[in-house]
Symmetry: C2
Subunit: 302 residues, 2 copies
């Protein structure tokens, strides 16, 4: 499975174990409430609990483990990254945005609840992502918490994820050149994946050079992930993906597959995954989980 790299890391088991920790943490951080706001909290729980690969949360925890820092604080920071990701999915699925009724094989949040509740649930998930990071339970050192909040704000705002989503909306129906498609995805999905890796380095108190290597790994991993996602979208069925397939191409969005062909996109994903792995050359066996993850993102089927 991971033979090309000579790595025999039990990634599926590690992903499942970390996902279970993240799920339990998220469940604790968003307890159901009574009163008029019960519906909001229910929608937040619906959006963030119950599945997904937990790639971002896994990254936070797995990178933190390189520095012996994958305790409860790393799980909280991982849960925060998952909240941020969930908020972006809830808003992206809205009728005014990508108008997607299906997410992970289930009705998207605005279909399960309603649009107003989905907008508010996304809003509150973003707020809570920052609220969790700033809590002393996430890291005892205020400077580390400050660094986490600053990095998340930069990764997820106008110069990051939301900026990328805007470029994506603006590009609908137009043929974007490859560099613009690369930039779009580097912002829309790449920045939060890179942040997740960096968050682990921040939690571990990594030196600047080490943090930069981890950031490079995260950047290339995110890029590989997105190119592979385009390949999956073009080749797998909706049933397999648990979401509407071929949607981007149908919406007239420029995809890596459209620009490079299936084989070209597959090769590009491989190249990016290999470069991500190279960024880890300063680490020993303790980084095998991250190396296995780089393989996984280009080999996955959903």
């Amino acid at each position: 499975m991971n033979g090309t790299m000579g790595i025999a890391f039990p990634l599926k088991e590690a992903l499942a174990a970390r996902a279970a920790s993240l799920e339990a943490c998220l469940d604790t951080l968003i307890p159901p409430v009574e009163g008029g706001e019960a519906r909001l909290v229910e929608a937040m729980r619906y959006a963030v609990l119950g599945g997904g690969k937990r790639l971002r949360g896994f990254l936070v925890m797995e990178v933190a483990s390189l520095f012996g820092a994958d305790g409860p604080g790393a799980t909280r920071a991982g849960a925060s990254a998952e909240m941020l990701h969930a908020y972006s999915l809830v808003h992206d699925d809205l009728p005014a945005m990508d108008d997607d009724d299906l997410r992970r094989g289930q009705p998207s949040t605005h279909k399960k609840f309603d649009e107003a509740t989905a907008i508010l649930a996304g809003d509150a998930l973003q707020t809570l992502a920052f609220g969790v990071l700033v809590d002393p339970a996430t890291h005892p050192d205020p400077a580390a918490r400050i660094a986490l909040v600053a990095a998340l704000a930069e990764a997820s705002g106008m110069a990051g994820m939301v900026g990328g989503q805007m470029i994506d909306m603006e590009g609908e129906g137009r043929a974007l050149p490859l560099p613009e498609v690369e930039r779009l995805h580097a912002l829309k999905t790449g920045r939060l994946i890179r942040y997740s890796a960096e968050a682990g380095a921040i939690l571990g108190g990594a030196a600047p050079g080490t943090r930069a290597a981890i950031a490079a790994y995260g950047r290339d991993l995110g890029a590989a992930f997105q190119v592979a996602d385009d390949v999956l979208d073009a080749t797998e069925s909706a049933e397999q993906l648990g979401k509407t397939a071929g949607k981007d191409a149908e919406a007239g969005k420029s995809t890596f597959v459209a620009l490079m062909g299936i084989d070209g996109a597959r090769a590009e994903a491989e190249r990016l995954a290999a470069r991500a792995t190279e960024a880890l050359s300063g680490f020993g066996r303790e980084a095998d989980g991250l190396r296995a993850l780089a393989r996984y993102v280009v080999e996955r089927r959903n």
Copy 2:
């Protein structure tokens, strides 16, 4: 004008001066950009620049001035509070929410741009509000920045502003009893106003007891503001208000005026403003601006 309290504070001039500082700061914090995300940044600027009373930003700066801390950092924190407020207005105005085409006499953001852009602009304004707070330019002490982020997250999330907005949506078409209407507004608008006052105390390094007094002032000021807002909504024209009048009553929302009558609501606003002023009894003339503000919120005509 402020005769009832024996205060002769030039509030209009002070509001205008602080508003000008806030506007300049916001303009700097959200510079126009090139590229596919230009439209996002344009919408963010449209939503947050160009008017409004700047009540929240003023509060941050005016409370900070009690402690001699109303420098550029306080202006940034005030601008952050205005970003958070602007994001909430952009999302509240959306068709799926209050469906309001008019804001401060101008087309609301989704009318001027489109729904997708408005959703994203609100999202990115929230992110930036946190990003600004965490920057060393806002306060040199990481502990103060942490306290600001924690307080804003608590005030604006599921247990604060967004929770209140959900209660508001859930209450449409139903007659809510007075305690529930009070709680709704304490969350929906009150928490961010209270936060704004507390943020000034945090910037000034106020002792816990002093911060609690400022928080009590902010809480009662926010409550007075909302009751007075209901009175204005019932008595003033849309032209005067710069937004659609009578909208809450029309949407079947329970208002203070519906529950207490015009005269009862006016008396309640007065009572709350007086209590807000009492919370400032530990301060001398340096708090006259805050006392004048408490008069202003119940005497204003828009």
